[in-house]
């Protein structure tokens, strides 16, 4: 099975933008966000609309940074956590850009970048495209868990859905860094029905993709500066490192997780770390891409991790499945 797609055409990050809310601003990456709304509402009267507004703001910021008009975008690939991806489709409706909505739970960021890169690889005349991903804590809590103001205690393995979003403009410019390889993830059983342990459930999918990637590509671990997962949190990261140390000794030391980077883990009440598809999007936009431009990382594997489930499937005691699509991001020298 040939799973790695090698890009022959140039697909580079022209510009990126990260937006977030109050908790995200307080976190270690807070100052690197382009915009944070301390009320989490983004001037909207519902949290669902706030999520859409967040995506719109991220895309507008990325367009401004790239000095582009929305008319120059050939394709918009975007998604969020709300039912029917309605946050994205309503929030981004005003741009009038051809749109593909994607859903990969918390893996949406990588999925969107992967779909967009593949389209740009297939169509040489596609000059610019945008990928946008958002998640909103309050919209997600309402949909997946309990009311926002409900007074309950969360399990120590539970994670905090981030109010964050990222927008990426991909183009043909000779800019750094570039996306050079893609690998679509497989659906991997997470071995648990526990909705407050999604990091654990997703870790097996992440391990499956990473191990398959190294087996198939024949790449050496030393080629990479980091293997970045989306939102495994503390529990999922521990499991992944154990799995990697068994199968690919040494690779566990390269592993970092966006879910552990977004918040101040000691002073915030986020338990096992951040989750939500905005986590990896905002961390990629606020941290990894800028750091790669500063040559602090040369080559990374980036995999957002998604927990595939619904409130109904959890109540019906179905196992959570995990998925982890992968993209290889690198600077040319």
């Amino acid at each position: 099975m040939n799973r790695i797609i090698k890009l022959k055409r140039t697909v580079s990050f022209c510009s990126v933008a990260a937006v977030g809310g109050y908790e995200e601003r307080r976190g270690p990456l807070g100052e690197r966000f382009d915009f944070c709304d301390m009320t989490d509402t983004f001037g909207q009267d519902t949290f669902e609309r706030a999520e859409g507004e967040m995506g719109k703001l991220a895309l507008n910021t990325a367009l401004t940074k790239a000095n582009l008009s929305h008319n120059e975008l050939s394709l918009l690939v975007a998604g969020d956590l709300q039912n029917q991806c309605v946050g994205t489709s309503l929030g981004l409706s005003g741009f009038g850009v051809p749109f593909l909505g994607v859903y990969g739970a918390c893996s949406t960021c990588t999925e969107a970048l992967l779909v967009l890169s593949a389209m740009m690889e297939a169509h040489a005349d596609m000059r610019y495209g945008a990928a946008v991903t958002t998640s909103h804590n309050s919209a997600a809590e309402r949909q997946f868990r309990t009311p926002i103001e409900y007074g309950g205690q969360r399990a120590p393995s539970a994670q905090w859905t981030s109010t964050a979003g990222g927008a990426f403009i991909l183009g043909r410019d000779e800019r750094e860094p570039r996306i050079t390889e893609l690998m679509v993830g497989r659906i991997v059983d997470g071995g648990t029905t526990d909705g407050s342990n999604m990091g654990g459930a997703m870790s097996f999918a992440a391990a499956d993709t990473i191990i398959s990637y190294f087996r198939e590509s024949g790449a050496s671990i030393t080629d990479f500066d980091a293997i970045v997962t989306g939102d495994l949190g503390a529990v999922g990261s521990d499991i992944l490192r154990e799995l990697l140390s068994r199968e690919l000794p040494g690779s566990e030391r390269l592993h970092t997780d966006c879910g552990l980077m977004l918040y101040d883990m000691k002073n915030s009440d986020v338990h096992s770390g951040a989750s939500g598809c905005g986590t990896s999007a905002a961390t990629l936009a606020a941290h990894f891409i800028p750091e790669m431009r500063e040559k602090k990382y040369r080559r990374i594997l980036f995999l957002s991790t998604g927990a595939l489930m619904s409130p109904q499937s959890l109540l019906q005691k179905q196992n959570i499945a995990g998925i982890a699509p992968l993209i290889r991001i690198e600077c040319s020298q």
Partner: protein
Amino acid sequence: MEANEKKRLIKKHSPHTRVLKNAVMSFIFGSIICGSGQIIFRLLQSYIGDARASATLVTLIFIFIGSALTGFGVFDRIARHAGAGTLVPVTGFSNAVTSEAMDSESEGTVLGVGSKIFTVAGPVILFGVASGVVYGIIFFAARLIAQML
């Protein structure tokens, strides 16, 4: 990978809930709520004299406090530490109803608030009433048997 191996790994790496700390915290917060309830009850009873009316008033006062704290966005911050201490008394019920009403307000008064207000508290109402019925039947049967003997 075997399903059992996955379960083992998840169990191995998941931190345990701090049962003792949670129990102590819920005991302290529960005691504060119930103790102050008793004090208010005594005060009311000495003022109006009627024990049943006083007890009902105490319940109403705590429903109001729970609801108001939920509205101000404070309840969940206290409950994060108090756990069952704020959940088990009537304050927990009040919070469950108010928080759901606040959430669904944007979806309209009838189809939003009206249909969703008891989503969290519904099971308590249903099984509370149902267990009351079962208890009533047992009580009735026991009395009947006692009369026959």
